[in-house]
């Protein structure tokens, strides 16, 4: 059952088998697996409990509810916006339901003894079955996706339909703001109800403050419940919660998990916690077409271009192209300029087809605490990644012209408005900081798995090398960027880590 700040008004102590911090893909899958195996499970979630009737499809209403820092979190140099969700269900509340498996060649390339595609593959299979993952039929493609498909076909580029975890989707186009139509087969719809049915409890509005360790084991989690700031502009006074457990799982995501571990002073002599952060960064641009595209309607992303994406070792094809998805405030923020020129571009919004290029990044950074609970994300793009983003922009522009665009707008600080396909070939494109909006929606890798405690934080089962009963089950475990959305893989990681914990009991 779920408790919120409304009923957690007095200090409380809990004693359970497993305490899980975070209720997103990894945390909810772990809760589901362990509760169904008969373990007493408690999940602590800093965000609030929302149901579909709370999702009002308004950017101003939902960003403060569903995203850390109302969606305004940025890297230290402010060059990259990092969107990171919270709420009971985590990022699965606001993701666009894309289901891509961690590529087998990538997983095998990590060379982690005891963890490879043969071990991980079956978990991915089970997650896909549990979430009802299926290919999005071509007759459900909105106009924006059809244009991408058309452009790819004209150029002979590889790609095709994406897979998703939806059922009963009405094509509202508001996936990123929570589904008011309850069509996401996500943590709130599948794994958390299953966990609760098996006896798990969830404490919403409850932030994990620190883990108390004795050097070998975690003894307890100290947490605090507060009325959330989004309710009326002010956070409530904290109520102390103490949780003892036989095992602890951190599943707050690649930003929050390292912050919790750092606040807890877990043994980390090599200073690895919070390092090797990957962001899977992306840039976007838009084609302007003669007739309406209305890109905000329908399933936002149902087609992908994989022409420039390869996971073969050493490949420099690292660009994944999919349609962009932005409602008007988001679109306005990304379009360059301001004043009359910007207003003129916004009047073209219904005729705009946005595309996004995300890269399988080699750049890596770090995350450390800032203030009480803030995050200092230090991440600077390497030159090679900047080139990949530039390749992504150029290829998106080619695709849009091949699909019939009259104009392509590249939203650099000084905008580049390209009127002819031939101009794309000679465009000078350089993705420098603060010259174009760069966004990350998939932070990964900051508490990574590996073979040795000298180079990694976790062993091949997701257990923290230096503590007997601490585990991590979120996107921070990946030794590299996945190069694809981590949703399915992270549910699988949660299940995998849970199975190992259950075996140790």
């Amino acid at each position: 059952m779920i408790h919120t700040y409304r009923t957690l008004r007095e200090p409380r102590k809990f004693s359970v088998d497993v305490c899980i911090v975070g209720s997103g893909a990894g945390g909810s899958a772990a809760a589901w697996a362990l509760a169904r195996a008969g373990r007493k499970v408690l999940v602590v979630e800093s965000g609030s409990f929302f149901t579909p009737k709370d999702f009002n499809q308004r950017e101003d209403g939902m960003f403060p509810r569903l995203f850390y820092d109302s969606g305004g979190r940025r890297t230290r140099n402010r060059a990259i916006r990092v969107l990171h969700g919270h709420g009971v269900g985590g990022s699965t509340l606001h993701n666009i339901n894309l289901c891509k498996r961690a590529p087998a060649t990538l997983v095998d390339g990590w060379k982690i003894a005891g963890f490879d595609s043969r071990v991980f593959g079956p978990y991915l299979d089970r997650v896909e079955k549990l979430l009802g993952v299926s290919e999005i039929p071509s007759d459900r493609r909105n106009q924006n996706n059809q244009l991408l498909a058309h452009g790819m076909k004209a150029l002979g580029y590889q790609g095709g339909s994406l897979k998703h975890n939806r059922r009963g989707c009405v094509g509202s186009g508001f996936c990123e703001l929570g589904c008011a139509f309850d069509a996401k087969l996500n943590a709130m719809r599948v794994t958390l109800p299953g966990a609760i049915e098996a006896g798990a409890e969830i404490l919403a509005d409850t932030r994990a403050v620190r883990l108390e360790c004795d050097g070998k084991r975690v003894q307890r989690l100290i947490a605090e419940t507060r009325k959330p700031a989004w309710e009326n502009g002010e956070e409530g006074a904290p109520v102390s919660i103490e949780i003892e457990a036989r095992a602890f799982i951190c599943a707050g995501g690649a930003i929050e998990t390292p912050l919790l571990l750092q606040r807890s002073d877990v043994p980390d002599p090599r200073g690895l916690v919070g390092t090797h952060l990957h962001l899977h960064p992306g840039v976007a641009l838009a084609g302007v077409f003669e007739s309406a595209v209305n890109s905000w309607t329908g399933i936002p992303q149902s087609v992908e271009c994989t022409e420039f994406l390869s996971f073969d070792p050493g490949s420099e094809r690292r660009v994944w192209i999919i349609p962009g998805a932005a409602h008007p405030a988001g679109a306005a923020s990304m379009l360059p300029g301001f004043g009359a020129e910007h207003r003129e571009m916004m009047e073209l919004y219904p005729k705009m087809a946005p595309l996004s290029a995300m890269i399988h990044d080699h750049s890596h950074g770090s995350v450390t605490g800032k203030g009480e609970y803030g995050a200092d994300i230090d991440y600077v793009l390497e030159e090679g990644d900047r080139r990949q983003l530039a390749i992504g922009l150029r290829e998106c522009a080619r695709i849009l012209f091949a699909a019939g665009a009259q104009e392509v707008v590249l939203p650099f600080r000084i905008p580049k408005r390209v009127k002819h396909a031939s101009e794309v070939e000679t465009l000078e494109l350089r993705v420098d900081d603060h010259e174009i909006d760069i966004v990350s929606v998939h932070p990964m890798g900051s508490v990574r798995m590996g073979n040795s405690s000298d180079e990694s934080c976790l062993d091949s089962t997701g257990k923290y090398h230096r503590l007997d009963n601490l585990h991590v089950a979120d996107a921070s475990v990946y030794p590299t960027s996945l190069g694809v959305p981590p949703q399915v893989s992270t549910y699988a990681i949660g299940w995998y880590v849970a199975d190992h914990i259950h075996q140790t009991f």
């Binding site: 950017e59 403060p64 309607t297 405030a329 679109a331 923020s333």
Partner: protein, 189 residues
Amino acid sequence: MTNVDLRRRSFLRWSALSGVGLMLGWRFILPAGGGKFERLRTLSQSHARLLAAVYATVTGLSDTQEMQRAVAFMDRFIGRISSRDRLELKAGLTLLEHSPLFFNGFFPRFTKLDSSERTLVLEGWRDGANWRRPLFGALKDLSYLARYTDPASWSSIGYTGPLVPIERQAGARDLEYFAMLSAEERGMR
């Protein structure tokens, strides 16, 4: 050089410095330009006027009622961000207000400039050194968030807005979610 010359030079130097100091001090003491905003919870009147001036420049619009709505929105939104970010934003706003003197050679504060001068100032923040660009980006984002989450703006850009969920499968699924709450929680709702 005689002692009289030195004393005169010193007097002139200090008079000039005092004059500049008085002008600058007066500049800081004077209130910001712009109207009055009601029922603010997070912003001071000066910051509200400054945000209104930024909003007008960024959107190119200056309707008074719309401005009031936009500032009210920004006041609520800023109230929900972290206190650290709020402090940084307010410091940035104060800097912006007085920046025209240092970066553009305009003596009046930002809120007292005309629209073409304000545009020049914001362009300077947009194109300036890397430490200046993020503030411009934040103010632009905030202005457009206020503008385009206002349903009154949607017809101007052909946006159809939320798909009203009248056909939701309410009832059974809502009850299932409700049942996930503890008994005490259910009793309170």
